[in-house]
Point group: C2
């Protein structure tokens, strides 16, 4: 083991495993999905009745019903039945749970790999078969959904009535601790905040999950955004501490590299995905944590991990510039054709800047005494390699992207005023490659705030997240391009997550 | 409560609940169903490989496989897996279990009510979704099958291999106590006995079940046949006693009528189906039990129940003949157009004859001192009403059926030699209405044996059950008419049970 502390860190993380808060959410309406050219993804929901009317009725041998829960639910569905006779055959309950109208309408049997490439196992349907009349049926797994479709095969002799359809929702967010926003804003700001807070809470389970429907793991880059938002919302620093410890505990034994993502497990968490631009920001995340929580003890405990990640970042530098040696996954954004090197150069610089700041804050600057000089060298080299003075943009292999400008701004490669102008300009430049989704939009929000462009950050949130609100989002979506409603990096939009860690707008203090 | 002893009987039955014997059966071959005009129900099974070859392989993102278990299994399927990586998506296992090639090939989604009228919930398929790599997957319910079809959606990262597909088979039959047959017979006799014993064992669970796939309840008429067979096979008199106590405990509170079928439950078993020709034979069954087990204590305890059923039978008699007042279900056989009254008259007579014999055997003849005279009166009235001397048959509403002759023979309405001739004649008479299935065939076997026609009983078994053997039966089928392979009283043959209580040939002492 690289640090020798991994097992202790894992054990401490285990002790911090939260007790989840439970809340029963009842089905809200009976509905049908309907095709509609004017609706997002071409499907809308039509209300056809009230669950209260349905509950009293004796159900037929085969009964189909679709419930709208009125809000996004993460938890275990629970159905309640009453019987006035003995069943002479099992109860068979086929269920489907969907985040969106499209998913509700889509026949999961039609899902194919390819074009999809994520497992069909994420699609939320299943079957429960019970040999006895069973008054309370808890589904065998946690689900994330707004819509529940049931097809129930029942014994006519049992004279079955449904008493309720509910979801035993869970979260580690404490709603009673919810902070007031610094600015109240107008109705749209408030709605974005409401949905953002809901997104955050739904992803807060045993750890900060990525998506409660799909990809229920802990990703470092997403954790960074979740912690940033949560510092002004639920302030669950226990959960943040647990997650940081899990990453430290899952570092590779040979070189102490933290993972891009992980799954809690015993005796040690299981590392997954060597995602470069996530892993090298461990120091940044730890600094955020120490700043907001005041917990310098954890900062000191994990400082060696942070320093190590920044030093590992430097292994990807050649002639003072980041170079893709094809040995790590370079992400930055889900965006076809995106050039990565300039953006990753900014990531490396930011990693050094933030780890240096962390070490200073903790009084351990001697560990990184070489960083200031390295930072200066990398800045100059980066400007030389990528900055086009004429265009006023960082240009990567001929490409002008939001991504490159954002990470150049993170890396403080230009003086502040120049950076501000560059950020404002790129957002207006129709030819610049725009973000593929919420993750990089959030990065822009962060750098706009970093450079004091608060109103512009607010406007970006209103434009981008506001559009999701307009389209009926219950929680914010993993993938969102207003011009491409069926866009999916996974080949089929039904696999997209519609409540997603990185989609929580970081500026919830509005 | 009619008898006042119902709760004690229920408690005694509960104490007799058996500890089940377990046996792991491994998948035997990898197969495919194939259409074949020459096969029973037009489907046969083609062997395509050995499970051993499959087990080693790393499974794809979607893997389909069909296993033939080589024998009929009743129990909980158990799959074992090994993984060499962490899953990044759930394991989704869609399974289908089938008794027959037709059922394996039939798309359960196509099952409709009507034409089917039993619940689709009996069709054995389901889904298991597991969020973690799970080495041992036990299905959530007991199943009955020979073929197992799996469609598995797996995480490619998990690098999953299957180690085994097995069934944790259960039975309350003790195979180590299996009796030798009185006559060994030839190869066909031995094969019929082997399959009959297997059928019996598969139906012996917590009680003598009707069908381990469909209709998992206790039927009195089927129990009668099972106990009759088992007296020469496993001799599980504990199980027989438990079942008799359950019927006594479930008698109606008002008039002490036992049920045609029941489900064990607490505090009292739940009665179902007022099937006349089953319920009135309680005394006959109890007499069989006392005779084979020597347990006169239970005989004395339940004698009042037996006497009461025979007296209730007499309530359906008018002018000394059975009359259908349309207040009970008259079964006799699954056979379109069958006339019931003459056969039920024989049932009533047999009920009186056997309860009288039971009371005599237990030294309590005074309880039924009126029976001999009633029996005589009913015999004469039955002959007058239904016996056609010219034709030499009992004729019911113009119909000559096996059913009427069988139950007239049970009721001893004619002298023995006349009865023998009548039975032999009806079996040769092509115009006589034949049995619809194994239940009435078994009744013929019983009366042939009762009248000393052992070779003819043996021949009937060889002809009828032998045909099932020829067609590849693993266990004997609930419904079987060689001329109508897709015959089903339930509207669709896939709902038929292919391991069924009443299909155990009663003469397993061959």
């Amino acid at each position: 083991m690289y640090y020798g502390q991994e097992q202790r860190w894992a054990d401490e993380a285990e002790l911090l495993k939260p007790v989840l808060h439970h809340r029963m959410v009842q089905a809200h309406a009976m509905v049908q999905p309907e095709e509609s050219a004017s609706a997002w993804q071409n499907w809308c929901i039509r209300r056809i009745g009230s669950p209260a009317d349905f509950y009293g009725q004796e159900l037929g041998q085969c009964t189909e019903v679709i419930f709208d829960f009125g809000e996004y639910c993460v938890g275990t569905p629970v159905l309640q039945f009453a019987f006035s006779g003995r069943n002479d055959s099992p109860m068979r309950i086929e269920y489907k749970l969907a985040e969106t109208p499209l998913e509700l309408a889509f026949d999961f049997e039609q899902y194919q790999t390819p074009p999809g490439w994520l497992s069909r196992a994420w699609l939320q349907n299943g079957v429960v078969v019970l040999d006895e009349n069973t008054e309370t049926v808890r589904f065998p797994r946690r689900y994330a959904f707004r819509y529940m479709k049931l097809k129930m095969y029942l014994s006519p002799y049992a004279k079955t009535r449904m008493l309720s359809a509910a979801c035993d929702c869970t979260t580690s967010a404490d709603w009673s601790a919810l902070c007031e926003p610094a600015e109240k804003g107008d109705a749209l700001d408030q709605e974005i905040r409401r949905i953002g807070v809901k997104t955050l809470a739904c992803c807060m389970q045993d750890f900060y999950e990525d998506g409660p429907k799909r990809d229920r793991r802990l990703w470092l880059g997403d954790l960074r955004l979740q912690m940033m938002a949560d510092a002004h919302v639920f302030r669950n620093f226990r959960l943040a501490k647990r997650c940081l410890l899990l990453f430290a505990a899952a570092a590779t034994p040979e070189e102490g590299r933290v993972a891009g993502s992980l799954y809690p497990a015993k005796p040690l968490p299981l590392a997954d995905q060597d995602l470069f631009d996530y892993t090298v920001l461990f120091g940044d995340i730890l600094l955020d944590y120490v700043t907001h929580s005041g917990d310098t003890a954890l900062g000191l405990d994990l400082l060696p991990v942070a320093v190590r990640q920044s030093r590992l970042a430097l292994q990807e530098v050649k002639d003072d510039c980041f170079c893709d040696f094809k040995r790590h996954w370079l992400f930055i954004d889900w965006k076809e054709g995106l050039e990565h090197e300039c953006a990753e150069h900014g990531v490396v610089l930011y990693s050094l800047i933030r780890t240096l700041a962390l070490a200073r804050k903790l009084g351990r600057e001697e560990l990184v005494s070489d960083f200031p000089e390295t930072i200066e060298r990398l800045k100059q080299a980066g400007i030389r390699k990528w900055f086009d003075r004429e265009k006023g943009f960082f240009v990567d292999n001929g490409q002008i992207s939001w991504a490159a400008q954002i990470w150049a701004a993170y890396g403080e490669m230009l003086p502040p005023e120049e950076t501000r102008q560059m950020l404002l300009r790129v957002m207006k430049d129709a030819s610049a490659l725009r973000p593929g989704g919420p993750y990089l939009h959030n990065q822009m929000v962060i750098v706009l705030e970093k450079y004091g462009l608060h109103e512009e950050a607010r406007q970006l949130i209103r434009d981008y997240w506001g559009k999701m609100v307009e389209l009926g989002a219950d929680t914010f979506w993993e993938i969102f391009d207003p011009a491409q409603p069926l866009l999916s990096p996974y080949g089929q939009a039904v696999l997209n997550s519609h409540c997603h860690a990185w989609s929580t707008p970081v500026s919830l203090q509005i």
